[in-house]
Subunit: 524 residues, 2 copies
Amino acid sequence: MKLLGQALIGGQPVRGAGDSFRAFDPQRGEHIEPPFHSVSEEQVNQACVLAGAAFDAFRASSDAQRATLLEAIAGNILDLGDELIERAMAETGLPRARLEGERARTCNQLKLFAGLLREGSWCDPRIDPAMPQRAPLPRADLRYRLIGVGPVAVFGASNFPLAFSVAGGDTASALAAGCPVVVKAHSAHPGTSELVAHAVVAAVQGCGLPPGVFSLLPGSGSHIGQALVRHPAIQAVGFTGSRAGGTSLMATAAARRQPIPVYAEMSSINPVFLLPAALAARHDALAAGFAASLTLGVGQFCTNPGLVLGLEGPALDRFCAAAAQALGGSAAGTMLTAGIAASYQRGVQALAAQSEVSTLVSTAHTGCQGGPALFRAGAASFLAQESLSDEVFGPAALVIACRDLDEMRRVAEHLEGQLTATLHMNDADMDAAQALLPVLERKAGRIVTNGFPTGVEVAHAMVHGGPFPATSDGRSTSVGSAAIHRFLRAVCYQDLPQPLLPPVLRDANPAKVWRRRDGLLTQE
Amino acid sequence: MKLLGQALIGGQPVRGAGDSFRAFDPQRGEHIEPPFHSVSEEQVNQACVLAGAAFDAFRASSDAQRATLLEAIAGNILDLGDELIERAMAETGLPRARLEGERARTCNQLKLFAGLLREGSWCDPRIDPAMPQRAPLPRADLRYRLIGVGPVAVFGASNFPLAFSVAGGDTASALAAGCPVVVKAHSAHPGTSELVAHAVVAAVQGCGLPPGVFSLLPGSGSHIGQALVRHPAIQAVGFTGSRAGGTSLMATAAARRQPIPVYAEMSSINPVFLLPAALAARHDALAAGFAASLTLGVGQFCTNPGLVLGLEGPALDRFCAAAAQALGGSAAGTMLTAGIAASYQRGVQALAAQSEVSTLVSTAHTGCQGGPALFRAGAASFLAQESLSDEVFGPAALVIACRDLDEMRRVAEHLEGQLTATLHMNDADMDAAQALLPVLERKAGRIVTNGFPTGVEVAHAMVHGGPFPATSDGRSTSVGSAAIHRFLRAVCYQDLPQPLLPPVLRDANPAKVWRRRDGLLTQE
């Protein structure tokens, strides 16, 4: 498929009316053809108006129709074949195996939501039957279901050009919910975005759905995204990116005449707690596992383990030495963009410059290359110095030596919200883990035991979320089937005649969908 | 019980350090003893710190313990007996029967959440078992549940001194979720608030729960509420009141270092659509039902039917005449506060002053008395004049005459978010209803058929919510068991040892709680 460098507005390729820009190959250090054209605010408006107009028809589609749509998107993405992988490799510097894995994950994600739709109870159907004889007042017939909130703006993420981008988890869950999607393509992978967008558009057309269900808006600069979030047709926002970017969209959404929810996944340092017995028994193995997790994908994961906590002493020293050795031997890797590499280098230099931070590993950085870095400080310094809690996006981590378990707990309590918290523990650490657990539950969306936080399973029980600033809305997850709840709201129907009720709420329940009747689950 | 005019901070009566104020009897037009004392910001801080400190212990209580707490609160409220009813009558001007009914509703609400806790699946437990043999990568054991978000600030509402106040739906659902509650008492019913707060505190003490689980903060003026919402320990806000009050709290919450969700139920005009066949067949009965709903409780319900839409013609004229006759014969009633009465009078005068609005009924107002008012305008005027969509809190309504069903649909599309939308229809109106329904689903939280929106059942399938400005968060309901979801967030446990898992997620499931295993419901 020849890349056109165009927007797709309601399924139609349209040349953006704004400035042109090109993708950049961070591996080769050169721009790539063709030029892409940023859309204008008027083109943002066109896409949003089409999305608004498509909403009622799209949400009236059956669960099976939307499941078919999601499966068709997955099939079309696979059909793009190697062209997609090669373009994504050029635009991101990510290796083939990683991108092939990410493509499989993206398709599995689409299929997970298709399965959720086919199961049917995602809309939480509830029926409280009428009680005409009740005294002092009769009860009306009340029926409840969740429906989509309306058109959703999705922002592609730089670090997952497939799984958190045009047809990633935000888009899959929004489409599953019956919400049209307007994607702001990430300017770092516009060609990948265009290819995937064509896969989505073909599926929308193939399923006979209204074209406004999906649009792709290329653009460089934040004004396009801001215009998108301001648009009155947009009813929710999905974003994965920086804290500055996310909080800026939150402010825009809150300042609207009608404020809307923003689901921004932003910033996390993913603390790893090395409990004493585990550290004493396994310091070398823990160091090897940690170094592998830290450097995976050049550290460019939201769940990268950027903070390690242990009790000061010989076992922690040996962990640090082994980790430093493993990391010192790791080659620098190509980062996603020149901007990310520059920001990483600034972050590493700022840590190295702190007087109370010692540098265990530092590697030279040039251009888009980023090498691992490891630092160490005492818990007292960490507690006193707010900037030590800042995320450094890339393969850098800070080891915090705590005097005792109480101080470790104080450090945990001091942390901002996190996507993950990890416990390394042996049986002898059970009490220490028990004492930390309530703090970690308050701080993080996912608690990992004896593993590392990188690697986020797409599953029903996954939470990829967490209190601010991990996300803008700690009630949500952006991975796993619960992600659909971000884009749903409840409607109650009181005494509505059966023919007007949505099928899932009618008396007959031929599909045997699980529903709550007076609060109790039944397939009746 | 002698009223002390004091705050209850972590269960302890404390004299507020701020200004003193007294309640006002709107029926007699005089202040009532004793004086109450507004809390200081430092006292707000004390309550919030205690709430934060109590959170881990409180949420570690079993579902059965919290169910017992809620049932004990209900019992203690009943035990307050007539003293509660009489104080509430004096402070609100509401009649005995209404307050006795509201007390029953408040207790039922507490019991609904107790039942939800005893059923057990409220926390949406999910288990995706490990798949150690899966290729290319094994799957970890993933378990998911919802936990409380943290301490919740609750603002009592003036119009439901029991059911939406100190131990109302917000408090009941927050306590059920395991969240400590800090209540800002409404200054219009401080004595009622103090009595109910003692009932809550006694239940907290009787159940052996930490005292920080509940505090009551009296105060007049908005600075106390603002300080409460700014406090870092507070993690969510429940509010029922004016649009100005709600949006002000939303702005404060969004401006925090860590933004938090605000659930404000604010403003709704609750459109009633009189479809042609129903209007032709039943104009007089509809007018009688409408007049009764409009004047119920002197129109001081969030779900008061403030907008009526019909097709212009003789049937609508006869509806208007019959409604005007019924309303013209209604006596004025005592409104809740002098402020509400004055605001109502301004709203009615503003409508009457519009050149394109004709006044069908207007009654004189004096002091805290408010009488019904009915106006009529054409749809074109309504579409052109934004202020005609503003809520007038009280027994006033505007009838909009539409040229045809298309214009009626355009008016529906023009509306802001609503708590309710009502359809009056006969079989011959089925197509018209079908055409309106998708619009109403987007606009309202509850769609009522052939009834009136006043009267909100406390049930599992209820939605008392709706898109902004009906509420600040259209994904939520403040009535019914789904209200608990406002105060919950998800946590995932990856490979956590069984003894550390919360009981509801352990392999053994002796209580046979419904859980999702790989996405499918099971009691296994």
